[in-house]
């Protein structure tokens, strides 16, 4: 047997054994807690929901414990089986192969995207290995106000870094299959030129050192099809984003190390900050549209897990390399933005049921990864049902509806028994399971890995941040549960998911928060009322959940505030290595890049600006598609229409098509500038000249 597979199997069986053992003990405890010990239908329903929930929590906890063990066993240098451990010593001498760095974007904050890209490219160039790389911005943006700005930003960056011919920009005119279609389109046209490609997300930043290491590891291990890095959060400003950033830096290493240790060469791909062997990906990872029913029809939304399983099926290895530093991404700024993202992810993960059950040849480890991803969202409605069944159970007793013969065939009565001590033991064990990984991460930092401690500020502030984070995670859990439950239901009913760029930079208003969380608040009020009317003791048990739901709007608004994030940052709460300037040059470079506006503040829309600006118009003409025949005639007609009616009466996306034809565009440009002052376009020019001058 392959030694790697042997180690993987031993680890996985040990892991499964421990999870199953703990789950069995938890279920046994639950059976004792239930008055009829699981003999009634409602108690069986409670147990049916309790078992997967408890197993899921136990699995997360044991994974972190594995991570803790691996980190201590190998002195914090990562697993001895990892690629970095095996090939680390020879890496500096390994020559690089041609690699594309691809950045797919869709309606993102242009300034932020190009700031991150510039920091990444400058870091790559600083390694002295820039000749091996070409950079591609792959836009799927449809709104001309966005893609024209993207194009201007690309030109400026090419000019600034003197990367003409190596920093490319492509906008897809037909956005088939969302991000997978975008990357596939790139690969079909240009993939053959590159042995590897690295995918970035719109908010990614990677250090040149990390990128060069990835390429060299691929060169060292020809069986590697994908190597995923562990992105850490950075650049957080709102209190919510800073908290998430603190979480990934403090607890993340334990979980990622545990995950990597269990998956070994059958790890998963998270969609970005990873390197991929181009030929293998093109040969095995194209995703068909699904042909099933409802949710399981159409584009695969969460494509990354599926691609990893497909490339593994073809014989290539997929690694999660925890030891590569310098891989970063950003957190959504608020809970609401995280939930919007989760809505898309929940549908994508539920689609994996089709691959979990019906796709041949997938590795068991990847089937488990699918299952884990699915249950990450399915856990919420299951938890909801658990609470519902528990309430019904209490309601039955409160109503005096005690059934002494739950089994109709039995001649002997079954006396309900209450064991509050078992309830306390069960709750305590659940809390230990939930919080032990966090405590271990803290202990590791304070006792075993003190060199990382300065990144988190003082010990006092670290502890303060730790307790605050735990408090907020308890408060946020029921809110997330309710939202995820709704998303799962919507996904199963196949409600359309909007594919849109994420909000990465704004606060949440009170109105928006109250509207979004009103159902949860109403539910919490109703549930608390029912609980109080049934049994005061039960009411106390429900408080942690109902209070969170009642406070959902203020929690969301408060945590989304940049001012609160700034204040706590000034006080040293939730400090992280990037904020302390201890995360490498690439993030310092990111912060110091000057990005002056691409057009004056008062200038007209990007479409008008492009048509009228002497250089922008010529750039647009230079990049226009070569139109002939009917397309040319259509562009000409559109140009004439715009010339006669102006831009106000024509929908923006339609009007932007005039940019596809150089002749029509330049004719418009020349006409506008030579138009008499009283002419339609003469007035537009007059407004343009005023707008860019008057403050």
């Amino acid at each position: 047997m392959n030694p790697l597979l042997r180690v993987a199997l031993i680890r996985r069986w040990v892991f499964m054994g421990l999870v199953l053992l703990q789950t069995s003990l938890g279920v046994w405890g639950m059976i004792w807690v239930l008055p009829y010990h699981g003999d009634t239908p409602i108690e069986q329903a409670i147990l049916a929901t309790f078992i997967p929930l408890y197993a899921f929590v136990a699995a997360g906890s044991w994974m972190a414990l594995f991570g803790f063990y691996i980190r201590r066993r190998f002195g914090g240098h990562g697993d001895a089986r990892s690629l970095l451990a095996r090939f680390g010593s020879q890496l500096p001498t390994v020559p690089l192969a041609p690699t594309a760095i691809a950045l797919p974007i869709y309606h993102e904050d242009v300034e932020r995207v190009f700031r991150g890209l510039q920091a990444t490219i400058e870091s790559v160039l600083a390694t002295g290995q820039g000749a091996a790389f070409e950079f591609f911005v792959l836009s799927d943006s449809r709104d001309p106000e966005v893609w024209l700005e993207e194009r201007a930003a690309w030109l400026r960056l090419s000019h600034t870094l003197n990367l003409q011919g190596r920093l490319h920009y492509r906008r897809r005119r037909v956005n088939l299959k969302a991000k997978t279609g975008n990357v596939s389109d790139f690969l079909r046209r240009w993939g053959r030129k590159f042995k590897y490609f690295i995918v970035l997300d719109a908010d990614s930043v990677m250090s040149g050192e990390a990128i060069v290491t990835l390429v060299r590891l691929m060169e060292c291990e020809p069986k590697a099809g994908m190597i995923q890095t562990v992105p850490r959060l950075f650049n957080a400003r709102s209190a919510f984003a800073r908290m998430q950033q603190f979480v990934t830096h403090l607890y993340g290493p334990l979980f990622s190390e545990g995950l990597a240790a269990l998956q070994l060469n059958e790890a998963v791909f998270w969609g970005h900050n990873a390197i991929i062997r181009t030929e293998a990906f093109m040969a095995h990872c194209g995703l068909k549209s699904m042909r099933g029913l409802g949710l399981w029809r159409g584009t695969v939304l969460s494509h990354d897990f599926v691609e990893a399983s497909f490339i593994r099926r073809a014989g290539y290895e997929v690694w999660l390399e925890t030891g590569i530093e310098g891989s970063y991404e950003e957190s959504p700024p608020s809970l609401d933005d995280e939930l919007i993202r989760d809505k898309r992810w929940s549908k994508g993960n539920l689609q994996h049921l089709r691959f979990l059950g019906f796709e041949r040849g997938i590795a068991t480890a990847h089937r488990m990864a699918f299952l884990n991803g699915i249950f990450a969202y399915l856990a919420s409605p299951v938890w909801f049902l658990f609470l519902l069944f528990s309430t019904i159970e209490v309601a039955q007793f409160a109503a005096g509806d005690i059934n002494y013969f739950p089994d109709a065939r039995s001649l002997y009565p079954s006396w309900p028994q209450w064991h509050p001590q078992w309830a306390i033991i069960l709750v305590t064990s659940t809390l230990v399971t939930l919080f032990l990984p966090k405590v271990l991460a803290l202990v590791e930092l304070l006792v075993f890995d003190r060199k990382r401690l300065p990144g988190f500020g003082s010990t006092g502030r670290l502890l303060q941040g730790f307790f605050l984070e735990n408090m907020f995670s308890i408060l946020l859990a029921p809110i997330r549960m309710l939202a995820h439950s709704a998303y799962v239901i919507q996904a199963v009913l196949n409600v359309t998911v909007q594919w849109a760029g994420q909000n990465r930079s704004s606060e949440v208003g009170w109105g928006q928060a109250f509207i979004r969380h009103a159902p949860g608040m109403l539910l919490a009020l109703t549930w608390s009322g029912i609980a109080l009317s049934l049994d005061a003791n039960f009411f106390y048990w429900t408080i942690p959940i109902s209070l969170s739901l009642l406070l959902a709007a203020p929690i969301t608004v408060g945590l989304s505030r940049f001012s609160l994030g700034d204040t706590w940052r000034a006080k040293g709460v939730w400090c992280t290595p990037p904020e302390q300037g201890l995360s490498g040059a690439v993030l310092r470079e990111f912060s110091s890049i000057e990005m002056p506006p691409l057009k004056p503040m008062n200038a007209p829309s990007w479409l008008e600006w492009t048509l009228l600006h002497p250089n922008q118009a010529r750039i647009a003409a230079a990049l226009a598609a070569r139109r002939t025949g009917l397309a040319k005639a259509a562009s000409h007609r559109l140009g004439e229409k715009i010339l006669a009616e102006g831009l106000q009466t024509i929908p923006r996306r339609e009007a932007a098509r005039v940019l596809d034809d150089a002749d029509a565009l330049m004719r418009l440009h020349r006409h506008a500038w030579q138009a008499r002052p009283e002419d339609l376009w003469g007035r537009v020019i007059d407004q343009l000249t005023r707008s860019i001058c008057i403050r």
């Binding site: 070409e134 591609f136 201007a152 690309w154 030109l155 000019h159 011919g165 490319h168 920009y169 492509r170 046209r189 240009w190 993939g191 053959r192 030129k193 020809p222 069986k223 293998a280 093109m282 040969a283 095995h284 990872c285 194209g286 995703l287 068909k288 599926v306 691609e307 497909f310 593994r312 099926r313 073809a314 014989g315 290539y316 041949r360 997938i362 002056p596 691409l598 057009k599 004056p600 503040m601 600006h613 002497p614 250089n615 922008q616 010529r618 750039i619 230079a622 990049l623 330049m666 440009h669 500038w673 030579q674 002052p677 020019i685 007059d686 000249t689 860019i692 001058c693 008057i694 403050r695």
Partner: protein, 117 residues
């Protein structure tokens, strides 16, 4: 006249944003017409030419001794408008390949049939 190579720069947009105050002083932005029509028209054409130059280069040069006749300004603007479109490529030459769908080939057994090494 300024050649296209000199003017084809994205610096124009940057500088137009960076130095709006200077431009206010240079431009005839407040063109409320209180002059005879002929002068007003002349100012507008002059303004047009100056602005086109400004947007093109980010650095307008005002020659106070220049011939400010309408004909001269119109000719200047026409010349600027005739500057040709440059050669510019946003992506490299296409090198076509295909992306295969993730169907398990009949000959391929998971983990065994193909050893990429």
């Amino acid at each position: 006249m300024t050649s296209f190579d000199d003017t084809f720069t994205i610096r124009a947009a940057q500088e137009s944003a960076a130095e709006p105050d200077d431009i206010v002083a240079l431009s005839a932005a407040k063109t409320t017409c209180r002059y005879p029509e002929a002068i007003c028209e002349q100012l507008r054409w002059l303004q047009r030419r100056v602005f086109y130059q400004f947007l093109q280069t980010g650095c307008p040069t005002i020659d106070m001794e220049a011939d400010l006749s309408i004909a001269r300004n119109q000719a200047d603007l026409r010349q600027r408008l005739q500057v040709s479109v440059p050669e510019l490529q946003s992506m490299p030459t296409i090198s076509r390949g295909s992306v295969q769908h993730g169907v398990l080939p009949p000959t391929l057994k998971p983990h065994t049939a193909k050893d990429p090494a």
